[in-house]
Amino acid sequence: MAKKQTKGFVIVASVRKGFYRYAKVLAESVRDFYPEANITFFTHEEWVEPEDYTLFDNIVTEGIPRHIRAKLWALNKTPYDITCYLDADMMCEHEDIQNVWDELPDDMDIVFTKNRPYNAKLTKLAEGEEMTCHCGFFIYRKNEATMNLMGAWYTEYLKQWEPDYDMQHYPEDARKWDTFTMWRLLTYGEKGVKWGYIKEPDARWNFVNGYHFEELQETDIVLYHHTIPQDKLD
């Protein structure tokens, strides 16, 4: 008999305490609609409060880098067979969150929602080269290919920041985006990963502030994605 696959959410908060506070707001909202959800939280030990152990099933503090993209470090350390990564600045608004796992087809390793160019700071890199995957929410399967991808995501992101890194013909603005790293990996690297997009209306799974409501195609928002104001980050 096949072993039952474990499924859970991964949330990461590092560097600025606002992310930790908002990560808890997110976890509480997920719990309100999905009480039995597995949620693993990667954060700094000194921030953890005793009640966090009732909110999260698993809290990982060991080795977490003090880095704005600590999420990339955490992704291949997921304890689940199928993981739904959530940016800390999201909020759950619907019980369909319980069915999020159905969005990852059996023949896929990782699925993303699509970037909306009208609402993104940067999507087009060059003629015919566009960052189409939104990296604030995605669902992935634990296998060798995706674990390698996630590992490479972090190391390649770090490389991208090195002064001698050649940005080639890509805009300098792209350097700071982990989306750019993922785009590079999916386009020119890790060929073994079977990736795709969440079927429409994908926007309901990652409804970013500023999206047009028509994107929902008469459905409800499951996860709302906001931007934490700078003054609330510390």
Binding site: E28, M91, E95, Y118, F213
Partner: protein, 163 residues
């Protein structure tokens, strides 16, 4: 006394008329075709550009004549249409941007309202999942406030019963 020397060369030097380089007229378009009113960019000999308005209701304006030597009426009509299309596109884009900003602000306000509701201890710690979900699902600030009030009232009633 100073010696006065007079040149013995009596040949004639031809003096050419100084020719002012012609102005170039760029991108003319009708401001009002019926009144023969054109707007055109003039490129001067030194490369400087200036915008000019040429009106010629009587058909006597030399500038209008010069423009029409350089461009056909069809070309000016096409420029006019192109400009109108560009302007309409800009207006459309501006309106979309404004609408987008409004939507964003509205969404942010709703989100902040939900956040504030869940900062109230009685709501945050309530076991009334049904009403908490309704607050989270609310599509307007009014809805958030209404459900938050109902939840608070229920919590107060529960508190009274427990006493």
């Amino acid at each position: 006394m100073t010696d006065l020397s007079v040149s013995s060369d009596t040949s004639v030097t031809q003096v050419f008329e100084e020719i002012t380089p012609k102005k170039k007229y760029l991108n003319p378009y009708w401001s009002n075709k019926d009144n023969r009113h054109l707007i055109v960019t003039i490129e001067l000999a030194n490369g400087q550009h200036s915008m000019a308005s040429i009106q010629d209701p009587e058909g006597t304006n030399p500038d209008m004549k010069a423009v029409l030597e350089q461009y056909t009426e069809e070309e000016i009509d096409a420029n006019t249409q192109e400009g109108l299309d560009r302007r309409n596109e800009n207006i459309k884009r501006q309106m979309e941007r404004r609408e987008s900003q409004l939507t964003r602000a509205k969404q942010e306000a709703l989100f902040n309202c939900k956040l504030e509701a869940f900062e109230v201890d009685a709501i945050k710690n309530s076991k009334n999942t049904e009403l908490k979900r309704m607050i989270r699902k609310s599509k307007s600030i009014m809805e958030v406030q209404a459900y938050a009030t109902i939840l608070l009232m229920k919590e107060l009633e529960n508190g009274k019963e427990a006493d």
